[in-house]
């Protein structure tokens, strides 16, 4: 059975409310991340972590609600899980291989 062509209007009214909430959250997140970037944390790494955390939260909202991932099918989750794993592998293993080198290597 396919999706109904015309959903009951109320069904989508609640969806629209959700979209607006997400929109407000994203605006807030943007302002927050700009403000946080001006705070001089003890180390630069903390700035990076804060910025990435906020970005990841915003991204999750877009992906989860605008892209409907929160109610998607297992097949899609499966595809994305593998993608995430390989992406993580690419990043982590490449960075690790730059960081790990034999004892007398000269680095600039």
């Amino acid at each position: 059975m396919s999706e109904q062509h015309t959903e009951h209007p109320d069904h989508f009214a609640s969806h629209v409310r959700r979209y607006l909430l997400v929109f407000v959250a994203l605006i807030f997140g943007t302002i927050l991340t700009v403000w946080a970037s001006y705070i001089r944390f003890p180390t630069r790494e903390i700035n990076v972590a804060v910025a990435l955390f906020i970005a990841a939260s915003k991204a999750s909202l877009v992906a989860g609600f605008f892209m409907h991932l929160i109610s998607e099918r297992k097949m899609i989750y499966g595809i994305l899980c593998f993608t995430a794993f390989f992406f993580a592998g690419l990043m982590a293993l490449t960075i690790w291989s730059f960081a790990d080198f034999p004892a007398l290597t000269v680095t600039h």
Binding site: H5, L20, V34, L52, I79, T83
Partner: protein, 278 residues
């Protein structure tokens, strides 16, 4: 035999074909931008201490662009929801805003690119370094022939015989626009004859690793914005016929193109802090 499940949902997967297709494509895009981000991380971590730029990009403009894309994201999902609620007029309204947002984004980006393009760093014969935006260039300006003059709005720096902390302080004026030293810069008009100049380079991709990454990452992203906008424009302008003939298929196309657009927004959500704020 017709191709099944173009609009009807296949029972065991719960999906129609194009949705599987677009998520697969987005997975490959994650790997594409992911590789560029990992290049960014590696090149930044491996860069020489004190030479990685901070604050070279205009934060208000970047924030505006972020808000523009976020707005386009909600109008995109609203456009699809309108079709689901059988309201073609609202679909046209929301996607018109989406397209305006896309154009606004590209305009702001063009302005930013142009600003970088006319920003020069000049090595002078007296050993100083000048840095600023082009104000005026004489028509006969030619570096090889040593003719003409070049006027910038900027400042001069002196790296001669500097080491250690002194060097870092002077470097900060170029590389860390949020440092206390950078705040003390007085910008003025500086005129140089071609004969005073040893070499000059504008803040284009070839300036340094940061600009290379900036232009490549945002350039590729902009290409995706353009591509997504073209598809959405096509559906917006010429969708009337398919909406009448096959409303479900049309709604699905709007959904699928919307998913691509949201991905473009997602990438920017990461690009903005990484390039502008950190």
């Amino acid at each position: 035999m017709e191709i099944p499940y173009t609009t009807e949902i296949r029972k065991d997967t719960g999906l129609y074909n194009a949705k599987v297709g677009i998520w697969l494509f987005l997975a490959s895009e994650v790997m594409l931008f992911g590789a560029l981000f990992s290049a960014y991380i590696l090149l930044r971590v491996g860069s020489q201490e004190g030479y990685w730029p901070h604050g070279w990009l205009n934060i208000p403009l970047g924030t505006a662009n972020t808000l523009v894309l976020i707005t386009s994201s909600i109008t995109t999902v609203m456009a699809w929801a309108s079709l689901k609620m059988n309201n073609y007029g609202k679909f046209k309204f929301f996607h018109a805003i989406t397209l305006c947002c896309a154009i606004t984004f590209l305009c702001i980006k063009s302005y930013e690119y142009h600003d970088k393009w006319i920003h020069y760093r000049i090595e002078l014969t007296n050993g100083l370094t000048a840095d600023g935006h082009l104000v005026e260039k004489s028509p006969d300006f030619n570096l090889e022939k040593k003719t003409g003059y070049f006027v910038i709005h900027g400042h001069e720096l002196d790296f001669r015989n500097k080491t250690g902390k002194e060097l870092q302080t002077e470097l900060n004026k170029l590389y860390d626009m949020r440092s206390p030293e950078a705040k003390t810069i007085v910008y003025k008009e500086l005129k140089y004859n071609a004969s005073d100049i040893v070499s000059m380079r504008n803040y284009a991709p070839w300036q340094n690793t940061y600009t290379a990454l900036y232009f490549t990452l945002t350039g590729l992203h902009a290409l995706h914005v353009i591509g997504g906008a073209i598809v959405i424009f096509y559906l917006w302008a010429f969708g009337g016929k398919m909406w009448k003939e096959d409303p479900e298929r049309f709604t699905n196309r709007v959904e699928v193109s919307g998913l691509f657009w949201h991905f473009v927004d997602l990438v920017w959500i990461f690009l903005f802090p990484v390039l502008y704020l950190l």
